[in-house]
Symmetry: none
Subunit: 435 residues, 2 copies
């Protein structure tokens, strides 16, 4: 399998001012053509460091992709470093990129300055892949076996994310023209409700029996639950691809209702698929939310899905008891006798929201996000969640509730954990997975 | 100046499944104590590669911070690699971390498994810094001059971002105990309402006159506005520190009401300071929210502040016209004649929320977050926001509204931009900064 390294150049990443998102897109593209990314590096705008780092990466990798350091301003020194590394005798002007630069500048109504024209200059050792969206060309440098003991190709790409992303296809095509690559398959199974260690215990035997070409990784997150990523190497073989499909199906079956989706699914993105939606059904089911401790997060997650206005009517954030009583119809006795953080209050809130907003389903949260508050009986991290279903044929409302206990003292983590558990309960109730 | 490297371990970054945000936080923290980050690396969960990469980094840096690869599941191999690198003779159990693990598991109602207990085991060459929020301890390894020609310290931190962030202070303290670092002063001025380029134009002369030891960085964010970070190098000198204070005060004065805070202030965290709060006042002012296009985000931001239940009563997310009419009392004629995305609707929503939830202030949003929807007249990115103030002595309600126009097609970016503008309008209305 061919290996690659990604190297990002620029001080703004090293001082923590910006997060490197480019490398992630490049890695996905490389994986997609069967190239394994062995390492990523971020280094400073420093000529010596650039040359020595790239030289080291070319020694151990077939492909090196460099981003950044190509702007027109004087702090960018990637191009001369690449000229030196590749042993260029001089620079040449690339006519195609020059035409693109002229076009971009004239569209912005800016006159061409020498610094702009210089961007079309590349070391004479480079082959240019035009950057259609920006002024800095993509440069390809090929190093033969004599230099590093293996053929190696280096691509220098601009650092601006949308330019990088737009040029990725061209770069991948170029890589495929230099190397025979073998595809890798990825499949992600999204689970909710089992802690990482419990999940690992549950699938230990299955995991031990995986063939060496199938890899498993655990990706836990407070909002996502534990996502399991399976990777199949050498998936050009039909036997391996078939075995991968079987293995993935086995895992899904073993985990049953803990599985809520695959790939980039989230607990909120699956809602439209769970609810009866036209044209499959003549009737569009709807959802409402009542929130206390999650303060709007559940509603925000649901509405983060484009088109959610089709099935989502809205929410009430009842941060005071007054609002719980007046809007959500929580009985005063419940608040007095059981408190706001109680099964009874959560259930009343869910019923109240479904009734007030006239929806088929409603989900409610009431708990203590911390860091302050809480008591011995109800410590920070305690939350009651409830989901209500109004049966349109009988007119009856069923309510299901659960206690969530989070060990975290972080307000944000607790809010996320409570909100995710609420969406998970809603999923189980809609899918009739709860008895 | 001492130098550091940050190394992230885990296949999920190399295949592009997750973006490395930890390194950015760590770099900021290191900068804050006067340590310069020279490089960042992401490498695979591979024992040989881990050892050789860390060995190389320790050769050229004083401090190496490693994150990730410490989970309880078997794909994590950082710990044995660190044991080998540091020449450990065996493992020891850390009692303090074990107690934390027990606590975390018991709060979640999970039984302690051997894999959990093993997390409290560390190489005997390590000093443990307890991870209070998670099960994997932070490990410190000190290498004396004999090994690398200079004293070097390596810290292994968990990969879960909130655990990493929470432990950063302890790690920085430990670094300061090992090395003399030269203080850098940082001051951040938080502004809202001016685009980055307009702001830069406005302060260009002031910026040009800065002494070479004071640096300015622009940190724009959709939720935060443009934050300006001033850094003073060599701030051990009292003259420099005094000049830094003067310079910072000048900048604040120039920007007037565009400045909403300093340091880690946010548009939501300043609310309790703006509202009349006991004991300064006999009367606690309160806030409510009505949201359409922001879907709960404004409410979620307000409640992300600990103690917000003192002044925040709650919100209504009116994702359907029905809810706008029935709960928020938006006149049907407004929706028919002006539409839901209109000044009139936003103002009615703000009035309605203040009345329904019986608060002194209310803020409302109604717009088109996209990516779908919109029209030529009201394209994606259009949002009306309004803030209402009920005067308790006169009983009158004043309403202020603004149009927000975002050029983004991203639902998330637009929601954030709308929500931040709503909070900013609320700030200006509470502070009586609007005419």
């Amino acid at each position: 399998m061919k290996t690659a390294a990604i190297c990002t150049i620029g001080d703004e990443i090293l001082i923590g001012q910006i997060v490197d998102t480019n490398s992630s897109y490049i890695a996905q593209a490389l994986n997609g053509i069967g190239v394994k990314v062995g390492r990523m590096e971020s280094i400073a705008d420093d000529r010596t460091q650039i040359i020595s780092s790239l030289d080291n990466l070319l020694k151990c990798c077939d492909i090196v992709i460099v981003t950044g350091g190509l702007g027109p301003t004087k702090d960018d020194i990637t191009k001369p470093a690449l000229a030196e590394l590749s042993g260029a005798a001089g620079y040449k002007e690339d006519a195609e990129q020059l035409a693109i630069i002229e076009q971009i500048l004239s569209r912005r109504g800016i006159a061409m300055l020498p610094v702009n024209r210089a961007q079309a200059q590349v070391p004479d050792t480079a082959t240019v892949i035009p950057n259609k969206l920006g002024t800095a060309p993509i440069m390809e440098f090929v190093f033969d076996e004599g230099r590093y003991g293996h053929k190696a190709v280096l691509y220098s790409m601009p650092g601006v994310p949308f330019e990088t992303i737009a040029a990725l296809d061209d770069v991948m095509q170029s890589i495929k023209s230099h190397f025979d690559t073998e595809p890798i398959l990825h499949q992600t199974i999204c689970t909710f409700g089992l802690a990482e260690s419990v999940l690992a215990e549950k699938i230990a035997d299955w995991e031990d029996s995986l063939p060496e070409y199938i890899h498993l990784a655990y990706l836990p997150g407070t909002l996502t639950g534990v996502r399991l990523r399976l990777s199949c190497y050498g998936a050009g073989s039909t036997e391996r691809a078939a075995e991968f499909e079987r293995t993935t199906a086995q895992l899904k079956e073993m985990l049953g209702t803990y599985v809520y989706g695959t790939g980039s699914d989230s607990l909120q993105s699956i809602l439209p698929h769970l609810l009866q939606c036209p044209p499959q059904s003549a009737y569009q089911e709807t959802v409402a939310v009542a929130e206390s401790c999650t303060g709007g997060l559940v509603s925000n997650l649901i509405t983060s899905v484009p088109g959610s206005s089709e099935y989502y009517k809205g929410s009430v954030t009842s941060y005071s008891n007054e609002v719980k009583i007046n809007l959500l119809n929580v009985p005063e006795e419940v608040l007095e006798q059981k408190g706001a953080v109680s099964r009874e209050c959560a259930e009343a809130m869910a019923r109240g929201a479904a009734c007030l907003l006239d929806t088929d389903y409603a989900v409610a949260t009431t708990g203590i996000a911390g860091p302050g508050g809480g008591s011995e009986e109800k410590p920070v991290g305690t939350c009651w969640i409830a989901a209500a279903h109004r049966n349109p044929s009988t007119g009856e409302t069923e309510v299901f509730s659960r206690l969530v206990q989070s060990a975290s003292k972080s307000r944000k983590v607790n809010m996320e954990r409570f909100a995710a558990n609420a969406l998970n309960l809603l999923r189980l109730v809609i899918g009739q997975k709860l008895l």
